[in-house]
């Protein structure tokens, strides 16, 4: 679950992590009011769950409340990385001495949390890693001890800070770790973390992603945020409700399979034969007829779909159930485009017999099926 900047900062404040004064606005008039409350020049930022909003024009500076209102007007209603901007954050414009990067995420190779910092903040950590990897400081967190205050200070020291800033920045990193630990955070970034000219460290930006698998432990946060955990379109929401993995792509062939690896491999096979997938739809293990039908329904809701490829490797999933689901979807009139079926494994013969009776062809290998569906789409076009 990705948190919006203002939501992340609400959590930061619980942990007494310094953030710039300011607030949240849904209209230009509200933005003006927030700027008045701040009483100083402000920054107006688009609240979207996407990085690089600065480059997209989603961050503007305003010297007066009037200007802030105008900036908010420009930003509200923008789309950034295809996401609509429905609110802005108004914050005091800081008097910057230095921009710093601070983040914590998971190192999947080490199977540990990793704390990352750089005195050269502002730009994306990926760019920084390519341009000046020596400016990035990393430290793994011992799973049995957690991140310690002395390690947080060592981060600050390695990043080049001295004097009382060691304790100030160390305390910042320690709080960030406490947030990660308390809220099952899988990724947090403060970029930039600002060192002001008067020597304060403040979180000017805030990215905070909570592990979706941990949300059962954090119902109180979701409650407090008063919103659904994930931003999704209708089809994505339906798939999630049905516990299916669903991703929309820019092609026209809906691939409905069982298992994430097999579904990816099916997309790849379609591409080998010159086609392009519109849909990654993993039914999961042991899908029954109803689930298969539901999957086909969801896939058909996406207007880009010109053909369907069902590819089932029956293990727990039984081919007769898959066949029943397909027949039922067809009977209900859900299938409005050409359909190619490949189905092998458990109860393969029973399934094939059902399809045979209904006069629906099927294939034995995924390569044949992928090549066939690409052919059909070309015919349609």
């Amino acid at each position: 679950m990705k948190l919006f900047e203002h939501e992340a900062k609400d959590i930061f404040r619980i942990f007494k992590m310094p953030t710039p004064p300011g607030g949240f606005a849904k209209t230009p008039a509200e933005a003006k009011k927030r700027a008045e409350e701040v009483g100083k020049p402000v920054v107006v930022k688009a609240l979207v769950l996407s990085g690089k909003r600065g480059k997209a024009g989603g961050v503007k500076f305003a010297d007066t409340p009037k200007e802030a209102e105008k900036c908010a007007e420009e930003i509200l209603g923008m789309r950034i990385n295809d996401l609509p901007v429905e609110a802005v954050l108004i914050e005091e414009k800081l008097d910057i001495q230095q921009e710093i990067y601070a983040g914590i995420t998971i190192d999947r190779n080490e199977r540990k949390y990793i704390v990352i910092g750089s005195a050269a903040g502002g730009m994306s950590i990926e760019e920084l890693a390519e341009e000046s990897p020596e400016k990035i400081v990393k430290m793994h967190v011992d799973p049995s001890l957690g991140f310690q205050a002395y390690e947080a200070r060592e981060m600050a020291i390695s990043m080049g800070f001295r004097g009382k800033q060691i304790n100030q920045l160390g305390s910042f990193f320690l709080k960030l770790w406490n947030i990660v630990d308390a809220f099952d955070v899988e990724l947090t970034e403060i970029n930039p973390l600002i060192l002001t000219k008067d020597g304060r460290f403040l979180a000017a930006d805030a990215r905070l992603n909570i592990d979706d698998n941990s949300l059962f432990r954090h119902k109180d946060i979701i409650e407090k945020l008063k919103r659904e955990p994930i931003e999704q379109n209708e089809r994505e929401r339906l798939a999630t409700e049905n516990d299916m993995a669903y991703v929309e792509l820019d092609g026209d062939i809906a691939c409905i399979c069982n298992g994430a690896g097999l579904t990816m491999a099916t997309l790849d096979a379609v591409s080998v034969y010159g086609g392009k997938a519109s849909t990654f739809l993993d039914l999961g293990g042991g899908a029954d007829a109803e689930r298969v039908e539901r999957g086909i329904e969801i896939a058909m809701m996406y207007s880009n779909v010109k053909a369907i490829l069902v590819n089932i490797m029956g293990g727990i999933t039984r081919c007769d159930e898959v066949a029943k689901g397909i027949l039922s979807a067809r009977a209900d009139g859900d299938i409005k485009v050409p359909l190619v079926i490949r189905m092998v494994g458990t109860n393969e013969e029973e399934g094939q017999e059902l399809l045979n009776k209904a006069g629906i062809p099927f294939l034995k290998t995924m390569e044949d099926a992928a090549s066939k569906v690409v052919e059909l789409v070309k015919e349609v076009a």
């Binding site: 792509l249 298992g259 097999l262 790849d268 029956g314 092998v344 995924m366």
Partner: protein, 289 residues
Amino acid sequence: MAILVDKDTRIIVQGITGGQGTFHSGAMLEYGTKIVAGVTPGKSGEQIHGIPVFDSVREAKDARDATASIIFVPAPFAGDAALEAIAADLNPVVLITEHVPVKDEIRVIAEAKRKGITIIGPNTPGIITPGAKQKVGIMPGHVFSAGEVGLMSRSGTLTYEIAAGMTNAGIGISTAIGLGGDPCVGLTTIEAVKLFEQDKDTKALVLVGEIGGDAEERAAAYVEKNYDLPVVGFIAGRTAPPGKRMGHAGAIISGSTGTAAAKIKAMNDAGIAVAEKPSDVARLLRENM
């Protein structure tokens, strides 16, 4: 011979009285797996498919001399179940459950490492040694035939697809391991390669990877330096777009890392023959063995 599970492995099923636990215990028993006990707290005295159920792993282990565990416990409790298995020195511990919080995975894996125990998964189909008729997982046993090729994979059905293709081509498997589709898993690709390296009856490897992370690149580098027998690779997700999670939590291309292209290049550089389609795996094995 095989790795991790063989004919002497005696399995506890944690969560045996749940729907998944009961169903797959039946399937495992049918395949030939030596399940000796089940565990569900509060259900001691019951039997599932004739297997006695205990309240705790320790009781089950003591009563039935178990050596390994497979876990079907729901995600919120799966980490605790794994720690219970680790505390009882069961090895390996196969964690089938998906959607386990990553924080729990990190704790479990660290504790297992401290005690020298192998965790397989989470979010894995499990492990199978066809020659010993030991299936500790949820895979369809009949697609795996006994033989000399070690198979490791981050995905389930794709493994079955490839195993079925090998079986059809008359190529058997020593042990097949589902490593799990999560970003953090216990047994890593490179560790699996090292285990197969120690097994004198495994004469070739199939390394099925997918986008996300750099486990395949690391394994390829290891293979190039240390592994002399034939290795065939396959990478799923060549057409996956960056930033989208392709089903598995681990299958996501972030920034410039985790792309199929990088993995395929690393494999090619390491002298690993990479299949374009799953069906090519058996052919490449035949050509290289």
